[in-house]
């Protein structure tokens, strides 16, 4: 595999994860439990879609086939998306969303911290920029997790169950293959084992404050690296791509 192809794939991994989680957060629009949260969640969505734009544009440029950010976001098939399995998990109830976002934003936070020093100028700039936004996302989900975990008996039980259900998708976040190997050698990508150590610390600290129990590592789902997804991604994409599929030449 060429370095260029590895970098394109790497941009899709980061960009697709932001795009899909952004789409999930957009699904909360007008469905939030309270008005402030409705606004917060759509703001998170906006940030994530913005982050996806930068990376998909860059991936298109590297590829050199004239594909724009929109072509990549709206005209690929399910098996061409490299997003994390965690990002495509359904919103469920508010507690499910809080736990998923917490696990994911802690991952993005530590990944971007490390990627700030990437030897690829664009990846480094993107990481530094996104880190500022992701910091707010991590804080938002952490504070909610503590409020719910250390809240009433019912809220505690609900988020503990969310955590137990989502845990098996966290292993996928840290899997690596040849793409990582090539890019780590070039100083572009970072070793996800290192990111995992930082992630563990953050997760433990917040779960502790939220009086929640960290689930045991058991079976972990896998698929991101091979673009193999759960049954949920196809449905998400069908909704996300509706307009572009129905009206292929539509323009703003």
């Amino acid at each position: 595999m060429e370095k260029k192809d590895a970098l394109i794939n790497y941009c899709l991994r980061l960009g697709d994860s932001s795009l899909i989680l952004g789409q999930r957060m957009a699904e909360w629009c007008s469905n939030g439990p309270i008005l402030e949260e409705d606004i917060a969640m759509t703001n998170l969505s906006l940030d994530l879609i913005g982050q996806a734009r930068t990376l998909l544009t860059y991936a298109g440029e590297l590829e050199g086939k004239g594909r724009s950010e929109d072509d990549l976001a709206y005209r690929r098939e399910e098996r061409e998306y490299y997003n994390t399995l965690l990002s495509e998990r359904p919103n469920g109830h508010f507690g499910d969303t809080v736990v998923r976002n917490f696990l994911h934003s802690a991952f993005s936070y530590h990944l971007y911290q490390a990627l700030k020093n990437s030897s690829d100028e664009m990846i480094a700039a993107h990481a530094a920029k996104s880190l500022k936004e992701v910091t707010y996302h991590l804080r938002h989900s952490s504070e909610w997790l503590i409020r719910l975990g250390d809240g009433t008996t019912e809220s505690h039980e609900k988020v503990q169950e969310s955590l137990d259900n989502l845990w098996e998708f966290t292993g996928d976040l840290f899997e690596m293959n040849e793409v990582d190997e090539i890019l780590i050698k070039e100083g572009i990508a970072v070793d996800l084992n290192t990111v995992k150590n930082d992630w563990d610390k953050t997760i433990n600290e917040v779960l502790d404050r939220a009086t929640l129990t960290r689930p045991q590592d058991a079976y972990m789902h896998s698929g991101r690296l091979e673009a193999v997804h759960s049954e949920y991604l196809g449905h998400l994409i069908a909704e996300m791509q509706f307009l572009q599929r129905a009206y292929p030449t539509a323009k703003w």
Partner: protein, 166 residues
């Protein structure tokens, strides 16, 4: 050389007057979005940087820049978007912050612990732009736009936007 009757400073001057579409009391220059003007042999290159990656106002900024320059007879314009150095509220001038306050938006408080990772600090003092009281409380980290948080004044009870530090 593209024949231009304007200098770089002239062009900067035209663009510096474009207001932010969301907060019309401050301009794209005061906000720190306008980064550079370059005149090459073929075109004028305007460099801008986004406040937030998903800021919907960016497209408007681009359109405004192009139409402003067009009105001055400059047709060949390229907009270059840069991400580094990442935009920060520290670039906002004191005058711009004062304008924000008068407009009803509490300006970013420098040197606060807004950037703390996991939990927001309780020590930060965000003043109410209506009654100037320091007795205010954070309602939500996310307000009417990505760049603002929602606060409420405990004295005059008015809710207000606070421009977050990033």
């Amino acid at each position: 050389m593209v024949s231009l009757k304007y200098t770089k400073d002239d062009i900067w001057g035209f663009l510096a007057e474009i207001p932010d579409p969301e907060i019309p009391v401050i301009t794209i220059e005061e906000l720190g979005v306008l980064r550079d003007v370059e005149i090459t042999s073929e075109k004028v290159i305007i460099t801008i940087t986004p406040t937030y990656t998903g800021c919907p106002a960016m497209k408007l900024f681009e359109d405004e820049i192009i139409s402003t320059l067009k009105s001055k007879g400059i047709e060949k314009v390229e907009i270059k978007m840069v991400y580094s150095p990442a935009w920060t509220t520290d670039w906002m001038s004191k005058t711009a912050k004062e304008k924000l306050r008068n407009y009803g938006i509490s300006p970013p408080v420098k040197g606060t612990e807004d950037k703390g990772v996991l939990f927001s600090s309780d020590k930060k003092i965000v003043k109410c732009p209506q009654c100037n009281s320091s007795n205010t409380q954070l309602k939500s980290q996310f307000g009417s736009t990505a760049c603002k948080a929602l606060y409420q004044c405990n004295d005059c009870l008015e809710p207000f936007d606070y421009f977050k530090c990033i």
